[in-house]
Amino acid sequence: MSFSPSSYLNQEILNVPKSGIRKFFDVAQTMPNAISLGVGEPDFITPYHIRNAAINSILDGETQYTSNWGLLELRQEIAAYMKERYHLTYDPGKEVLVTVGASEGIDLALRILINPGDEVLVPQPSYVSYAPGVVFAGGKAVPVSTDASNNFVLTPEAVLDAVTEKTKAVILPYPNNPTGGILDREALEKLAKIFVEKDLIVISDEIYAELTYNKEGHISIATLPGMWERTIVINGFSKAFAMTGWRMGYLCAPAAFCDVMCKIHQYTIMCAPRQGQVAALQALRRGREDGWQDVEQMRNSYNQRRRLMVKAFRDMGLECFEPLGAFYVFPAIPKVGLTSEQFCERLLKEMEVVAVPGTAFGESGEGHIRCCYATALDLLNEALDRIARFVQKL
């Protein structure tokens, strides 16, 4: 009998589909004139003072492990930041864990909560990692659809429909990638009530918190009555400080959760990279001193481009939900019998513009495409022009 590697593999993991955007990547690679609105990160590079702090740290010979939890000064700075920006109080000694990106945070949160067969509610469209993460942790992901009619956010009714006695936790992915949906205070209050009533733990992915474009700004669910003790807040430096490649994130949660997350982190990761931590520390220290100028400037620039994108899509005659967070627009495609994947394939082949089909973020993303506006203005204008011509000839 011949040796068959796949017969040894874990079936649950094998069954998780690979991300559907790979083929766009391969085709786009061969087109030098393609403009990509398919990116998922800032078009700014990390501010120079932050890069410099990491360089100096290397030159100073800071090449050792840090505490499993992360540098204490960094955790203190994170706690101060959460207090100042989001009115959240965490003890830097036992309620803040520095992770390898928000990505690791998502994984840890799911792994400490899920017992075999536990269900986790995953509002969709949403970032691609949640549902696979639930499966990797041995649980069952229960997609909950959102759409433009409810501002692409989770509603109490949808939660009630999806909850069973096996439901352990709910992902709260706001500000949302790909829709730009955010939760306002009223929506949060209603949800919080249900979460308490149904005894759910909330995994709140707030990585886009700084990129919120309404007056009130981002509100964390953990600030609502009864929520702090049942919420794991996930955040990171990738989006707010243009630090994607550094892989720096953090978790804030009650000590009883953090302690177990740190146990996994300690045995699997040891600690987040030291120079990333030094850079993150610099980002927070300078930010607190200068009133978050870097963040403010980047947010303004995204906001200008956000307004431009929404208007451009609406001028094309497409329905376009107004995103109030992150750096994506999620317009509806024309109803001419194309799936969003077919639309994106043709857009790439015929117009050399990359957009991501809404279905990459869950079935409920069908009929939409995600366009990232973290791209130079001249390229955005050119891409919008090409999309308009494409839509016209459909």
């Binding site: 398919g38 998922g40 990160e41 200008q304 307004r307 208007k311 990459a360 204008n381």
Partner: protein
């Protein structure tokens, strides 16, 4: 200055050829409001002109630049203003700053050749009666000017598609 004007300036500084309609959309105001804010800044001399940033080194034009420190005797009643004006009226002089420290005025001067620049200093600048001394520093290479890095690679290092 109002926020809107500041925001418009920031956008225009990056690209002053954007259509008015786009400026209005980007700042979230009406066409009329954006137009009025810009007209106001033009009238008040906040915006002096809309000109491109040129990297002359990439053109065929021959050109020498120098920074010149100038010491002068200030004049009664007029301080440095009168002598500064005498100097900035010369076409060769591209910028003039009044400085604190060891000298008084700093000039950026430009001429087609080294010889002509030297000629300017010795015959036009040094001969002004209130000028008591000059020190000329030739510019060898311009790396960054007005916040723009001249040899900047624009290559996008991001993955083209990412969820």
């Amino acid at each position: 200055m109002q926020n809107l004007q500041m925001e418009l300036l920031q956008i225009l500084k990056e690209d002053c050829r954007l259509p008015l309609e786009q400026l209005a959309t980007m700042t979230g105001v009406s066409l009329e409001e954006a137009a009025a804010a810009i007209a106001d800044m033009e009238k008040k001399g906040v915006i002096l002109r809309y000109s491109p940033v040129i990297n002359w080194d990439k053109t065929a034009r021959e050109r020498v630049e120098a920074m010149i420190e100038v010491r002068v005797t200030p004049q009664r009643d007029q301080g440095f203003d009168a002598i500064a004006e005498r100097i900035y009226r010369f076409d060769e002089v591209k910028s003039v700053y009044l400085m604190s420290g060891a000298y008084d005025l700093l000039l950026l001067v430009e001429a087609p050749t080294l010889k002509e620049l030297a000629f300017f200093v010795s015959t036009k600048l040094s001969t002004l009666e209130t000028v008591t001394g000059t020190a000329t520093h030739f510019v060898l290479k311009r790396y960054k000017s007005e916040g723009i890095i001249f040899e900047d690679g624009k290559e996008d290092k991001r993955l083209v598609v990412m969820a």
